[in-house]
Assembly symmetry: C2
């Protein structure tokens, strides 16, 4: 697979070149293919055609692997969000951010599930989760809401995005009309209207 040399029946067995980064990357791919809860140290070892014990010099344990995959997913999602938000404001920014979440979840369901992993406070504080919060606030700042409305709106927006994407990923809207895409746009329109109507004048 990743290192064809390792399966040779010859005498020389080159090293597999394992690094934490490669392991986490492989774990993320595995998550997208078979589901985040199916990601296991054993499965990743199998991908590299290497014995399981070999991974334990790179990873503390199974939870460590999953946490790192979660952090990777949060980074990727934050990067995409930052890129999509550049130069946008208002409804445009809202739609861009929402689109990033939805697309990421559909392209990388396993990673998206990983990003929902509950992190311990210190890890969370050092993660890209902070950037997510900042960007969400940035989008809402465009609507000029006073506090505490802005905070409430952050929570509403977070709930809608996460909730919709989760339900769609779980197949909740499949095989029923109207198409999920139409509802998505309808929801964004209503959300935009709501936020706009909250601006003090």
């Amino acid at each position: 697979m990743h290192n064809p040399f390792r399966k040779d029946e010859g005498i020389a067995v080159p090293r597999a070149g394992l690094t934490v980064e490669r392991l986490v990357q492989a774990g993320a791919e595995l998550a997208d293919e078979v589901g985040f809860d199916q990601v296991t140290v054993s499965a990743v070892a199998r991908r590299f055609d290497v014995k399981v014990a070999s991974l334990y010099s790179h990873l503390k344990n199974s939870h460590d692997l999953k946490t790192r995959i979660a952090l990777l997913a949060l980074e990727e999602l934050a990067d995409r969000s930052a890129h999509a938000l550049a130069g946008r404001a208002g409804r445009d920014a809202l739609a861009a951010l929402a689109g990033v979440y939805r697309d990421y979840a559909r392209e990388h369901p396993g990673r998206y599930a990983a990003a929902r992993l509950r992190l311990d406070p210190e890890t969370a504080a050092a993660s890209a989760g902070v950037r997510h919060a900042q960007m969400m606030r940035a989008v809402l700042r465009g609507y000029g809401l006073p506090e505490p409305d802005q905070t409430h709106a952050v929570r509403l927006l977070g709930s809608v995005l996460h909730g919709y994407v989760s339900l769609e990923l779980a197949g909740g809207f499949a095989h029923s009309s109207p198409d999920a895409q139409v509802s998505w746009e309808w929801i964004l329109d209503r959300l935009d209207g709501l936020l706009t109507s909250l601006r003090p004048h």
Copy 2:
């Protein structure tokens, strides 16, 4: 625990009285205590002070156990919802339904997680999930929305409820002001206002 007789060092070892119902009930309690993903056939067997293999005459496999816990949770949640909705309409009904979801998730986090388990189509179709959909539509019917708006609104409502409850359960709103309760009410108010404004006149 459930059957003190079984640990007696005496000769007679009475039967444990295992039934699918008791196993599922114990599994649900276990889920609330240690998390749904920690629910295992072994752990349930331990609760009844019984060997693991004994459970396999009552349960097909581990997945069967989890599915049954999910179905139990869906039933309980649907029952509570039906009770809470009786005689209510409009904003009242909306708040009642939302309150049931939120309270259930906080009282029974493991069961709530179980309720989010992805069921195969036939199982889902025969589950209380159907009642959930009906009740959500019933709440929205009170707002007199035309189609396809009503469907969009069902999806929005589902997303907000599930999203908010998930995020709160994951600790997303803990240790930050304003209090999650305040945001919750704010969100319900906005949602009610939004739905009301959509009614054709």
